[in-house]
């Protein structure tokens, strides 16, 4: 019989869950995206995994929960609970450097720093103040926004004025 330490078991569970990919951004794992919040393995061997939604209405969350469940079962854990962590709210600042590199590699512009949210009213902006993202293909900053909302909740649509290619950008949130 092979014996493993609790830390080792937890690490295995974490790695199985962390390797699950996002159905809408399949180049990213849950770890890259920063939505895998916690993994615990009880003495009885029950694995509890906390993931956090990117947007309140993100339809990929249900699929990701099923995928995490299946990945852990495939890794030999029979008793799995996938839970939702609502707080603190996810921010694009949690996307890892590795995740940002993969996004760019796949032609999607990575988010800049998320807007600070001090308590109190959210400042009203009458002029576009968000900086234009760089084109993921030719790296120029000479780009224009086509639409603040794109094919999924987390992306906006842009066009490069230099190479003229349209591209998607993961919105800062």
């Amino acid at each position: 019989m092979v014996t493993t330490t609790p830390n080792e078991t937890r690490r295995r569970a974490w790695e199985a869950a962390a390797a699950v990919t996002d159905p809408e951004l399949p180049m990213l794992t849950l770890a890259d995206l920063g939505i895998l919040r916690e993994v615990e393995v009880s003495e009885e061997g029950t694995v509890a995994v906390w993931i956090t939604p990117t947007y309140s209405g993100c339809p990929a969350l249900a699929e990701m929960r099923v995928d995490v469940d299946r990945a852990l079962r495939a890794a030999g854990f029979d008793d799995v609970e996938v839970r939702t962590a609502l707080s603190p709210a996810w921010t694009t600042d949690w996307i890892t450097e590795e995740g940002r590199r993969k996004l760019t590699e796949h032609g999607i512009s990575a988010p800049g720093r998320a807007p600070a949210r001090p308590s109190g009213p959210v400042p009203l902006t009458l002029l576009p103040t968000r900086t234009a993202p760089r084109c993921p293909r030719c790296a120029t900053a000479d780009t224009e926004e086509l639409s603040r909302f794109g094919s999924t909740s987390c992306k906006s649509l842009h066009r490069c004025r230099s190479c003229l290619e349209p591209f998607e950008h993961v919105k800062e949130i």
Binding site: A48, D67, V82, T84, L86, T91, V122, R148, F149, G150
Partner: protein
């Protein structure tokens, strides 16, 4: 297993009538969230409050979806559908919280699909007719500014679940307001014709704004406990935001918000709500055995 189709997995591994792609058994929006009620907060009152905020979002989302396939440009259709999706997500969380707080254990579907229109607690502006694109933008501007002001306060609620839902919602609502502001400026300060259409939309929407700041007794009592927000307390902040936007859009500001009375929060709705709810519930009511 990584190469398997996700949908194959869904129907293979779960019992029951999983005849829909999302019949996963993983649908509870608040699965695993600590749902203990804060001390001193009355469960049924908190549930009613969650229904109010949840129904505002649910009904507005359903109204916005009427733009899908019918927006002026594809980009606007995608934008409005995305905004509706955010609101739907907020509604799911709030209605799920309502079912836990009132002790009935009803799930989000029980609230969305198995209540009559008279049981909905949304403000009337959310159910108001869709109108033209100018009307859509003015409605979105008013509702997103109002909800953003409520949610920035609600993020400090003594109920940790409401606080978390609100904190997340703030980030989304900020984008919704930005979208409405950008179009309000473009159309208000655009051609004489677009200006005229926007002025008409402001005139149509303004009489419905009074209700937004009328406090239902449940809102007042929960605000007193630090669990909710008294809508009257955001009147000035919303007023200032709208004044700034309308002025920059060269539109006349119609003066103070009219005095409004609690209506939708008590289930007193306009005739517009019943058909909207019927449409929302049709599939669920015709196929009660279906899951998704």
């Amino acid at each position: 297993m990584s190469g398997d189709n996700i949908f194959t997995g869904l129907v293979e591994e779960h019992d029951g009538d999983a005849r829909w792609a999302f019949g996963t058994g993983f649908t509870e929006a608040l699965a695993g969230v600590d749902t203990t009620l804060p001390e001193g907060v009355d469960g049924p009152a908190l549930a009613e409050y969650c229904q109010m905020l949840g129904d505002d979002a649910l009904v507005q989302a359903q109204r916005l979806v009427h733009w899908v396939t019918d927006a002026p440009e594809l980009e606007e259709e995608v934008a409005l559908a995305n905004i509706a999706l955010d609101l739907l997500g907020q509604a799911r969380l709030l209605l799920a919280r309502a079912g836990q707080a009132d002790g009935t254990g009803r799930d989000e579907d029980a609230f969305a699909y198995r209540r009559d229109a008279s049981e909905f607690r949304n403000v009337r502006l959310t159910e108001a007719p869709r109108g033209d694109f100018a009307r859509c933008i003015v409605t979105l501007l008013v509702l997103s500014s109002w909800r953003l002001a409520l949610f920035t306060r609600l993020a400090h609620s003594v109920d940790p679940v409401l606080a978390a839902i609100a904190a997340k919602g703030v980030n989304e609502l900020a984008y919704h307001r930005e979208y409405a502001v950008s179009w309000a400026l473009r159309l208000g300060d655009g051609t004489p014709y677009s200006h005229e259409r926007m002025s008409a939309a402001v005139a149509d929407v303004w009489p419905l704004t009074g209700e937004l700041f009328a406090a239902h007794p449940v809102e007042t009592s929960l605000a007193g406990l630090g669990a909710g927000v008294d809508p009257a307390s955001v009147r000035e902040e919303v007023r200032e935001v709208l004044d700034q936007v309308l002025t920059a859009a060269t539109l006349d500001t119609p003066g103070a918000f009219p005095d409004g009375e609690v209506s939708g929060r008590e289930g007193r709705h306009t005739d517009e709500l019943a058909p909207l709810v019927e449409e929302l519930q049709r599939v669920a009511r015709e196929h009660p055995e279906a899951t998704w």
